[in-house]
């Protein structure tokens, strides 16, 4: 399981494949203000990223993956 709910925070871990979009969607739809933590995330499948772009939940944590950190996360953290 790479999408987990830990203490009210949605944690995306490892490489999140396309199937995780559904799990993330369910958690985000349940409570749209739930923060999403990406510090353990190495890759976001397009479908997963699209959920974040559509629902705009608060995003926290810096990924260790350079591509995500430099190119993807800035777009999610923007208001």
């Amino acid at each position: 399981m790479t999408v987990r709910l830990v203490d009210g925070v949605i944690r995306l871990e490892g490489a999140c494949p396309v199937e995780e979009a559904e799990a993330l969607l369910a958690l985000v739809q349940e409570r749209p203000d739930r923060p999403v933590d990406l510090s353990g995330c190495r890759h976001l499948h397009g479908a997963v990223l699209q959920v974040l772009l559509a629902f705009r939940p608060p995003v926290q944590g810096q990924s260790e993956d350079a591509f995500l950190r430099d190119w993807i996360l800035p777009g999610l953290q923007r208001p």
């Binding site: 396309v18 979009a21 559904e22 993330l24 969607l25 739809q29 890759h43 976001l44 499948h45 397009g46 479908a47 990223l49 699209q50 959920v51 772009l53 559509a54 629902f55 591509f67 190119w71 993807i72 777009g75």
Partner: protein, 656 residues
């Protein structure tokens, strides 16, 4: 040539093709929104690209066409035959302009006038629509490069090479792409030299309540500093979903966006190659490396005192390996030059449609043989003659509708363009179901135009009479248009096909239709040549150009004025020594029989005197380059088995 323009010239024709295909299909299925979409997208992209360069007439016309297609897409306009005709005319004009830009770098002088006509027609069609105020009658089209500018400016000046070249990519993944296993983020991750990246939603306000997590709604825009081909490689699995443009970073960031113009290079020729063929080449190279290493190992064994017999066996073994690999390499390289006929064949339905519409005829073109492959140079040389043949068929072969009805034929004529492979040749047939050619009419016209003597004409069988349409004297447009229905420029077709090493044949049944058959070699690269010796040198002569070889006894050579003549089956044939033609010192006075190549120069036979025949061989012909390219009478060079360079001659040109 400017890279941006070059890219446009590669993509432009493909977009024209896409739009044309969609429009033609639209006529049959006017209710298919996917077709309108496809045509709209293609025209939209073309317009955007045209706006990047200084081609205002092209931009104006495409802009008007886009508006019309937009109205159709929005359901404000119905699709009817006239609308399709007008849109097809726009696409046809765009295609011709692209060709002009490719060869001269600019639009032809009459482009402005042509554009004004087209725009007027399109606008007139639109003006009775409900919500189109006389929009943009003469306003230059906006470029669609706004996203590029946004990306450029998002990066600040520091990150960008001032005035340098970047590659801009707009990737709109297909809605179902997740199901196809595509991951747009993964693809973006592997783009080399990333300078800017923006991932956003195509539809910024998706319905969150009914959110479909597996319908892709992403748009990826990025800039890369890597070479164009590397960026293209990153998107090789989704070529239909990306727009890739090289852009020049403006020296002043607030400038007019990327732009560029330059003069085209006449010699630039690119080849699009299927990636799997390159992979196959890479694989062979890999095996060659292994084989090469095997030689090093053998050398080490020899140094270590391997006995001669074992060495010979090992060496023969290695040779066999190399032989196999080199053979495969050669086949692979030849196949790289082979391109499918699809892009060529698919240009014609639109052309036929345009020609038919301009003549008020209804013609359906059926194209078969997309999968047939030919050498790139053959493909390039086919467009003109095929265009000619199809136009001829529509113009002269196909009867007017009422005449067809009287003859009991469907009003809509059927034209077939079929390509198929036959051994190492391709056969292309253009067949119509029109009025056919009446041999009697040909005889009359041939007599009127004095193509040949009346006695000779009378003795010709009907089959041979048809062949007369290929005679240069026969093909004067007015005469033929009036009487027979075929023949306009048929000599030009035969010449063009002949230059590709092919043949043209014509068959016709009066009242039922005409078929023109082109037979062409698949490969131009491998040529069969006859080896001849002259003044101690060996030369090659293409087998195709030799009618026969002859041995002439010395006493049968007759001096006529300064030259020599011999008789071949009662026909006087001049003899030209090859040494004289090549301006090399000839051999000393010969005692034995004279050997000659008999070739056909125009209508006449000519003998070319040589010292000896050395057999024949298949050669890989290299065309002459640089200064030598203009040398008359030489087709190219090749390397003989013993390593000597041999010149391959064009005897017809030499004798001419």
């Amino acid at each position: 040539m400017d890279e941006l323009l070059q890219q446009f010239l590669i993509e432009g024709p493909e977009l024209v093709q896409q739009a044309g295909d969609a429009l033609l299909a639209l006529e049959r299925r006017p209710d298919d929104p996917a077709l309108v979409d496809s045509a709209f997208r293609a025209v939209h992209t073309l317009k955007g690209s045209a706006g990047l360069f200084d081609f205002p007439p092209m931009g104006l016309v495409l802009h008007a066409a886009e508006d019309l297609l937009g109205a159709i897409r929005a359901g404000r306009r119905a699709v009817d035959r006239d609308t399709v005709d007008e849109l097809v005319a726009v696409i046809g004009q765009t295609d011709r302009w692209l060709a002009a830009i490719g060869s001269t770098g600019t639009l032809p002088e009459d482009a402005g006038a042509a554009a004004a006509r087209l725009v007027a027609t399109l606008r007139a069609r639109l003006s009775d629509g409900p919500d189109h105020p006389a929009s943009a009658g003469g306003v230059p089209p906006e470029t669609d490069a706004a996203w590029i500018r946004t990306l450029l400016s998002s990066q600040g000046d520091a990150a960008l090479p001032d005035g340098g070249t970047l590659v801009a990519v707009r990737y709109l993944p297909d809605r179902n792409c997740f199901f196809h296993g595509d991951d747009p983020v993964e693809i973006a991750r592997h783009v080399p030299g990333l300078v800017a990246l923006r991932v956003a939603l195509q539809d910024g306000q998706p319905d969150l309540a009914a959110y479909d997590p597996f319908a892709c709604n992403l748009v990826v825009e990025l800039l890369s500093s890597a070479p164009l081909d590397e960026v293209q490689a990153a998107f090789r699995f989704v070529p239909d979903q990306v727009q890739i443009l090289p852009v020049t970073v403006p020296a002043t960031p607030a400038g007019d966006g990327p732009a560029g113009r330059s003069t085209p290079e006449a010699t630039s020729r690119s080849l699009r190659v299927d990636a799997s063929r390159i992979d196959a080449l890479a694989e062979i190279v890999g095996e060659l490396v292994v084989a090469k290493n095997g030689l090093a190992e053998l050398a080490a064994q020899l140094a270590g005192g391997l006995d001669a017999r074992a060495a010979a066996t090992a060496l023969a073994d290695r040779h066999a390996t190399f032989d196999r690999l080199v053979g495969r390499l050669h086949r692979a390289v030849v196949s790289v030059r082979l391109v499918p006929m699809t892009p060529l064949l698919r240009r014609f339905p639109r052309l036929v449609r345009e020609t038919a519409a301009s003549l008020g005829k209804e013609v359906e073109l059926v194209v078969e043989g997309d999968e047939v492959e030919v050498d790139r140079s053959v493909l390039d040389g086919l467009f003109e003659p095929l265009t000619h043949l199809l136009r001829n068929a529509v113009d002269h072969g196909v009867e007017p509708a009422e005449q067809r009805r009287r003859a009991g034929k469907p009003a809509r004529a059927s034209l077939r363009l079929v390509a198929r492979q036959a051994g190492d040749h391709v056969v292309i047939e253009v067949a119509d179901d029109g009025r056919g050619i009446d041999p009697a009419t040909i005889r009359r016209v041939a007599a009127e135009r004095q193509v040949m003597g009346s006695e000779a004409l009378a003795s010709l069988p009907d089959d041979a009479v048809l062949d007369l349409v290929f005679r240069p004297g026969f093909s004067t447009a007015s005469a033929v248009t009036d009487v027979s229905g075929r023949g306009v420029g048929m000599d030009a077709v035969r010449t063009a096909i002949g230059q590709l090493g092919g043949k043209v044949a014509l068959a016709s049944q009066p009242g039922l239709g005409t078929t023109v058959r082109l037979t062409l070699p698949v490969n131009l690269v491998l040529a069969k040549v006859l080896l001849v010796s002259c003044a101690g040198e060996t030369y090659g002569v293409p087998m195709d150009s030799v009618v026969e070889t002859a041995r002439i006894p010395k006493d049968r050579l007759l001096p006529v004025r300064a030259g020599l003549v011999f008789f071949l089956r009662d026909q006087a044939v001049p003899l030209l020594p090859l040494a004289d033609l090549l301006h090399v010192p000839g051999s000393v006075e010969r005692q034995e029989d004279q050997l000659a190549l008999v070739i056909r120069a125009g209508p006449n036979l000519v003998g070319i005197g040589v010292d000896g025949f050395l057999g024949h061989t298949d050669v890989l012909l290299r065309p002459m380059t640089g200064l030598l390219a203009t040398m008359p009478g030489v087709l190219g060079t090749t390397i003989l088995g013993d390593g000597r360079v041999m010149m391959v001659l064009d005897p017809v040109e030499l004798a001419g």
